[in-house]
């Protein structure tokens, strides 16, 4: 426990940790000290002069954001002199700031507006011409309007410290200082847009959102990003049933202020012109749109006929549909179709993972553990590319807790910048690389080991044995791709108990029905069975859909409710942001097919299905309340898990790709780094 000091703020006696910053002490006690440049996650800047406070026996006003609390201090945050100083600061900030609030994207949610409204003077003494510089476009997603900038350096610090990219700086000096990008007139970076979110004014604006709407015209829907497995919360701004913005201004998710380009911008696939709007039936004249009732009847009849004749089914589920959908699909396959042939594209060896850890307690790391652990070891994964939020957590750990990062990878990774030790290995040499770090790791207080698909089967067991042998508390994260790989596994979308794996289904010459829900298995593979009736549920005409007999248009994650489980096993709720006319959620489609077939698989409402999941899936017995407000639920282990047939391979997505969805996101394809060429050939 840190030493406590007594001080007085605005006449109130307050106890605070010695050395805590005045601005924080005041905030914790409900006293607002206004500030622009101060941000609790990043280094101190003391640039904006907005947080000036009066301290007794100190002749001049002091900045609250860098002055530590000390015994006996008497602080005033609302005296005449402080109020005058704030007025003066705001008057200065407005000398060159254009008063274009009526057309500024930030208008209505601008910190400068709020501050001037609350603390500012009604008029300005400056009559000089404002210094004007034209607006610049730095990338498809980032625009910079220099005159609006108040030089708080938040964007520079967020990019340097938070993202580890360092693409922004400050050029020139004095009154003509302005933020500069890393390549003279353009940015080459993660294109994450963190700089835009963190900008207190409208200096940095988003290419996809600018001049689209006013903030108060949107509804704000907090949901979970549908792209990678990290499970970041993204708040979607919705107007007229269209998503116009993604951000995390309320910072209420597990990801706090973090979002990458996918979470912030890659919602645009929802309105892609090639989006399927009605069921499509393959005919001699190509695909013809048909009604839902006809389509459901065709599918149900086919399923019933094949089932009656004792035919062979193959069911391929998704790693980005909800837990409820995965659960229902697994139930449909096993009980409705009476087949064990169900699988999904597995991207991490969760079976071996849970098996190797069975019997141990407290060994599954959460996303918060990466921020709090003394050390993080990354094995065989390019974390910043594939799991940007986990990488962000590890970086924040170094920044805030002096945490240590170790990397064992086949190539250069961003984690090297901060790593205590980086080991380069050939593919397959990961274990030897880890072993070479034994002494260093042993000396750590505790450790989180994060590993990619290079670590599976026996190698995975050996890695866990290595962790055991260190004699310190070790937690693990088995990396998987896509928003609900973990959920697909937990819900039983796997060929356990002797079913055919995904590859075996595709290779089986006598398959009668292949039912693909939200997956693209035929992207790089052939279907051996020539007579199989192929049913595909998807958003787009993917390679797999193009081989289907019937395609059913599906709703995306932003268009439905339900739950998803992230890479660390944290279960979170989706919220429906927009309604769609043609497509239906996969759950509804499955429910309707079941009904048409006369099967009783229960009610297909997400809440009802989740109630069933709570009862029957180990570890998911969390309350609705916990699901709604967090913290994210995590699950205990469940004994031995049998190995599964089939291959396990990560799709190796980068920051700028998201499987088959990539090509339907204009934004992901518009940035110069797309799809990940900035890092292609480097790292793993």
């Amino acid at each position: 426990m840190a030493e406590l000091v007594k001080l007085t703020i605005d006449g109130r006696e307050i106890q605070a940790e010695k050395g805590a910053l005045l601005i924080e002490v005041a905030r914790q006690n409900g006293i607002e000290v206004p500030a622009f440049c101060y941000h609790e996650d990043y280094s101190l800047q003391a640039a904006c002069r907005m947080c000036l406070v009066e301290i007794e026996k100190t002749p001049k006003l002091q900045v609250g954001c860098t002055t530590p609390a000390a015994e006996g201090m008497v602080v005033r945050t609302d005296s005449d002199i402080v109020r005058t100083a704030r007025k003066g600061t705001l008057e200065f900030l407005l000398t060159n700031h254009p008063l274009d609030c009526p057309v500024c994207d930030k208008g209505g949610e601008c910190e400068l507006q709020d501050m001037v409204f609350r603390y500012g003077a009604g008029e300005s003494r400056f009559v000089e011409r404002k210094h004007h510089v034209d607006e610049k476009q730095w990338s498809p997603v980032v625009y910079f309007d220099a005159p609006r900038c108040i030089l708080c350096y938040r964007c520079v610090r967020a990019c340097n410290e938070g993202m580890g990219v360092g693409a922004l700086g400050v050029g020139n000096r004095g009154a003509i200082s302005e933020i500069i990008p890393n390549h003279d007139d353009h940015l080459e970076c993660d294109e994450c847009g963190a700089c835009i979110d963190i900008c207190p004014v409208g200096a940095l604006t988003s290419g996809s959102y600018r001049y689209q709407t006013r903030p108060w015209e949107m509804e704000h829907v907090g949901t979970i990003c549908t792209h990678c497995a990290d499970g970041c919360k993204t708040t979607l701004g919705v107007r007229n049933h269209e998503i116009v913005r993604g951000n995390n201004r309320d910072r209420s998710g597990i990801n706090d202020e973090f979002l990458c380009i996918k979470g912030r911008y890659a919602f645009d696939f929802t309105k892609h012109p090639e989006r399927l709007q009605s069921p499509m039936l393959r005919t001699e004249k190509g695909y013809q749109p048909i009604s839902w009732s006809k389509a459901l009847a065709i599918v149900a009849t086919k399923f019933s006929t094949v089932k009656l004749a004792g035919g062979r089914f193959g069911v391929i589920g998704s790693n980005h549909t909800t837990n409820e959908e995965n659960f229902f699909l697994a139930k449909f396959a096993r009980q409705g179709l009476e087949t064990k042939n169900i699988d999904h594209h597995r991207t991490g060896d969760l079976a071996a993972f849970f098996d190797a850890l069975s019997g141990k307690n407290n060994v599954l790391a959460t996303t918060a553990d990466l921020y709090q652990a003394k050390a993080v070891l990354v094995v065989g994964a390019d974390l910043s590319q594939q799991h940007p939020f986990l990488a962000f957590q590890a970086r924040a750990n170094v920044r805030h807790h002096d945490g240590h990062i170790y990397a064992v990878t086949t190539g250069e990774v961003r984690e090297d910048q901060q790593a205590v030790a980086s080991v380069r290995v050939e593919k397959g040499g990961e274990l030897a690389g880890v072993e070479s770090l034994r002494d260093k790791l042993k000396a750590e207080g505790d450790l989180v080991i994060v590993f990619g698909d290079a670590v599976q089967g026996d190698v995975l067991r050996k890695l866990v044995a290595f962790g055991d042998s260190l004699g310190i508390p070790v937690k693990y994260v088995c990396l998987v791709d896509y928003s609900n790989s973990r959920g697909a596994f937990d819900m039983g979308v796997t060929p356990k108990d002797g079913g055919l794996s995904r590859e075996q289904m595709l290779a089986a010459a006598d398959l009668d029905v292949l039912w693909v829900v939200g997956a693209n298995p035929l992207k790089n593979a052939q279907l051996a069975s020539k007579n199989a009736f192929v049913v595909v549920q998807d958003l787009f005409m993917t390679e797999t859909a193009k081989q289907a007999d019937i395609v059913l248009p599906a709703a995306s994650a932003y268009e439905k409710s339900g739950t998803v489980t992230n890479v660390c096993g944290e279960v979170q709720k989706l919220a429906q942001a927009i309604k769609v006319m043609g497509p239906k959620t996969d759950l509804e489609v499955m429910g309707l097919i079941a009904k048409e077939m006369g099967l009783d698989l229960g009610i297909w409402l997400p809440e009802k299905v989740f109630a069933e999941i709570r009862k029957s899936v180990h570890g998911y017995n969390m309350s609705q309340g916990q699901l709604a407000v967090g913290p994210a639920a995590t699950m205990p282990l469940n004994g031995r898990v049998a190995a599964l047939p089939g291959t396990i391979q990560s799709s190796g997505d980068t920051l700028f790709t998201s499987g088959s969805l990539t090509r339907y996101s204009g934004i992901l394809n518009s940035v110069m780094e797309a799809p990940g060429q900035l890092y292609r050939g480097k790292g793993q």
Binding site: G169, V170, I180, N182
Partner: protein, 160 residues
């Protein structure tokens, strides 16, 4: 890019002069020496200094933008810097600068057509006791009068 063997040697030594992990301290001296050899701070110089000092290019860019003695474009062979800050101003610094403009026929941060001279109005260079002061390249000239400046410029012109 590489520099002359002498400069390479100087840079190598420079990097050892700071405590471990503080190679960024070498950014400014490296930029100045590189500017002298290359003639200006080009994009290549920025990238190279960043690499050697283990900082990002944009961090070097910030430094170049901040300091007026670092130039992105080549200066004249003789870079005439006239101080017009308070001490020099009081004893004729401004008149001296106006005179220099007329004499050279160029303005602030401009270079003569033959590339021989460039002119810059600078802030205090710490020579207040001998104001008004002029710096030509790295040489200081004290108590400069318009006549003395003419002699200086004519002398340099003749010698080269």
């Amino acid at each position: 890019m590489t520099f002359s063997p002498q400069l390479e040697q100087r840079f190598a030594k420079m990097l050892t002069r700071y405590p471990e992990g503080r190679t960024r301290s070498a950014v400014i001296p490296m930029l100045i020496y590189a500017q002298d050899e290359v003639g200006a701070i080009t994009r290549d110089v920025i990238e190279e200094v960043a690499k050697r000092c283990k900082v990002t290019p944009v961090q070097v860019d910030e430094v170049v933008g901040y300091y007026s003695m670092l130039h992105r474009k080549p200066q004249g062979k003789f870079h005439v810097q006239v101080c017009t800050n308070i001490s020099c101003l009081l004893v004729g610094g401004e008149e001296l600068y106006e005179h220099a403009k007329k004499k050279l026929g160029v303005g602030h941060k401009e270079t003569t057509a033959d590339g021989q001279f460039s002119l810059e109005e600078v802030e205090c260079m710490g020579a207040c006791s001998w104001a008004p002061a002029v710096e030509i390249n790295y040489d200081f000239h004290h108590h400069v009068t318009p006549e003395k400046l003419d002699q200086l410029i004519d002398g340099l012109r003749k010698a080269h």
